[in-house]
């Protein structure tokens, strides 16, 4: 597994395909903090949602990296698709981890907040970054070229679903009462943000953790569905 992850990261770095999403993330975080001073929880919630989009972008490009024949050869060498794809997901997750560290440390190092970052807020916010990165990875996997051969369906479908997931609260408000439950199938990218912005930050007991658990469950379900479906292709 370690070698597969190294292979995947090595190939991705050499392809230079990381440059658009990674540079976009660096620039966006820089722009978010142009004005000071910023509230800690809200600012971190915003960078976490940005990381959700960027992780999805990175994931779809990492999964498209191997040409079809190369993918077949690697699947043959690793004896099964699960190890191959899990290694790809871990590679994306590691890149997202670096981006999350940047998003977390940049405002702290340059003193861009209007209050100190407490340990509890820091841990929860960092965790939120990684959870939304995982969600982005799982959503992108379903739209990757491993399952969708048509590029327009793949990239277009992912972009549309990401926009819908970010606008989920607005969609919920305008839907008639009998259709409101449909929001549950939309990726829960915005649920944790709502929970965080309603949190005072004083005690973890005051934080609604259900949206965080739902992100974990939702991501795991999507990754499981992907690993099952990809065996049929």
């Amino acid at each position: 597994m370690k070698e597969l992850i190294k292979y995947s990261l090595h190939d991705y770095i050499r392809s230079h395909r990381y440059f658009p999403p990674v540079s976009a993330f660096f620039i966006l975080v820089f722009v978010y903090y142009t004005y000071t001073s910023n509230p800690v929880i809200d600012s971190y919630a915003l960078t976490a949602v940005t990381l959700y989009v960027i992780s999805a972008w990175i994931c779809i490009s990492v999964l498209a990296l191997d040409p079809p024949v190369q993918k077949q050869l690697m699947l043959l060498h690793v004896k099964g698709s699960n190890r191959y794809y899990i290694a790809k997901f871990i590679s994306v997750w590691l890149i997202s981890l670096i981006l999350a560290v940047y998003a977390f440390l940049y405002p702290v190092v340059f003193n861009l907040f209007n209050e100190p970052v407490t340990f509890t807020i820091g841990v929860i916010s960092f965790m939120n970054h990684m959870l939304l990165a995982t969600l982005g990875i799982s959503v992108a996997s379903i739209f990757s070229n491993s399952l969708m051969k048509n590029l327009i369906n793949s990239y277009g479908g992912l972009a549309l679903l990401i926009v819908i997931s970010i606008a989920a609260l607005g969609i919920y408000d305008v839907l008639p009462a009998s259709f409101k439950n449909i929001v549950w199938v939309i990726p829960p990218a915005i649920g944790t943000q709502q929970s965080l912005t309603n949190w005072s930050g004083e005690s973890i007991l005051h934080l609604s953790i259900v949206p965080f658990i739902w992100v974990i469950i939702y991501s795991l379900i999507l990754l499981y569905v992907f690993l099952r479906l990809v065996k049929r292709f």
Binding site: E3, K6, V69, V78
Partner: protein, 284 residues
């Protein structure tokens, strides 16, 4: 003979286009099996199904060895890889579970043997077609496979590499490896083939490579292909641009030429072919 892989009534279709029809054959342990046939006959599809890279639309495939180690040399090894041959082979070896020390030695040995060592600083994407194919060969034999599958492996290879590949196949066979290969132009593998099947438009038939009846190849123009296909004497037809290639037994060639002229067709050339493996078991 011990069976290694058995295909029973395999069919394959892509988006309603049928590629293989009811294909059944057996690959025996320590045997060299060849699948012969023209372009688009379905040879590569069979190989990918045997390798487990594709699922048949129907039929059954049985592996008689648990966790069968398969080496697969694709017809076209990916040409845009961003690694040097050494880096790529090292990753492939490591993910296959070959111990580090053994892997380094094996890679160095094969790079030298296939004269790739001097290209080892270049990325695969910058190598020539033949050298890329050599990397494709080495990745399949790094770990001695139980079944080596070669899809048109000599395409783009120089004579030295072809001979080296043949030598490697013989060595692997001595070590107990079974070989499944396809080709349609090269004759380099002929001496080692033990069982051959001929595939035509997705149908398979056993071929007898020992029969060597002389065949005439008639290249004709301005003739209706559907009419020609009704003539029993014609073993096989191929279309090449505006020419129609007709393969017939020598004793029938005059009769066929006469019919072509009767239909106001023109004759470009007539050649005698000295090997007939693809025709003497034409699918019926």
């Amino acid at each position: 003979m011990n069976r290694l892989v058995e295909l029973e009534h395999i069919s394959k279709a892509y988006a309603n286009k049928s590629i293989l029809h009811d294909v059944s054959f057996t690959i025996f342990k320590n045997q060299v099996t060849a699948i012969l046939g023209g372009n688009g006959a379905g040879k590569s599809t069979i190989l990918r199904i045997v390798a487990g890279l594709e699922r048949p639309s129907s039929g059954k495939i049985t592996y008689f060895s648990k966790g069968l180690k398969i080496g697969y040399i694709p017809e076209r090894f990916p040409k845009h890889l961003r690694f040097t041959p050494g880096e790529y082979l090292s990753y492939v070896g490591k993910v296959s579970g070959i111990p580090d020390a053994e892997l380094k030695k094996t890679i160095a040995h094969f790079l030298q043997r296939f004269q790739l060592d001097k290209w080892n600083r270049q990325r695969i994407m910058n190598l020539s077609k033949g050298n890329i194919q050599k990397v494709g060969i080495i990745q399949a034999i790094l770990q001695t496979p139980e079944l080596l599958i070669l899809d048109e492996p000599v395409s783009g290879l120089d004579l030295h590499a072809q001979k080296e590949l043949l030598a490697v196949i013989k060595e692997l066979k001595e070590q107990g490896t079974s070989i499944l290969l396809t080709y349609h132009e090269s004759t380099v593998f002929k001496p080692i083939i033990e069982t051959a099947y001929y595939l035509d438009k997705g149908f398979i038939a056993k071929a007898d490579l020992t029969k060597r009846e002389p065949i005439k190849l008639l290249e004709v123009k301005q003739i209706d292909e559907s009419r020609v296909k009704q003539w029993d004497e014609v073993l096989y037809t191929e279309r090449k641009a505006d020419r129609l290639l007709l393969y017939v037994h020598v004793e029938h060639s005059d009769r066929i030429l006469f019919r072509v002229l009767q239909l106001k067709g023109s004759i470009d050339r007539v050649i005698t072919i000295d090997h007939t493996e693809k025709f003497n078991n034409k699918y019926i």
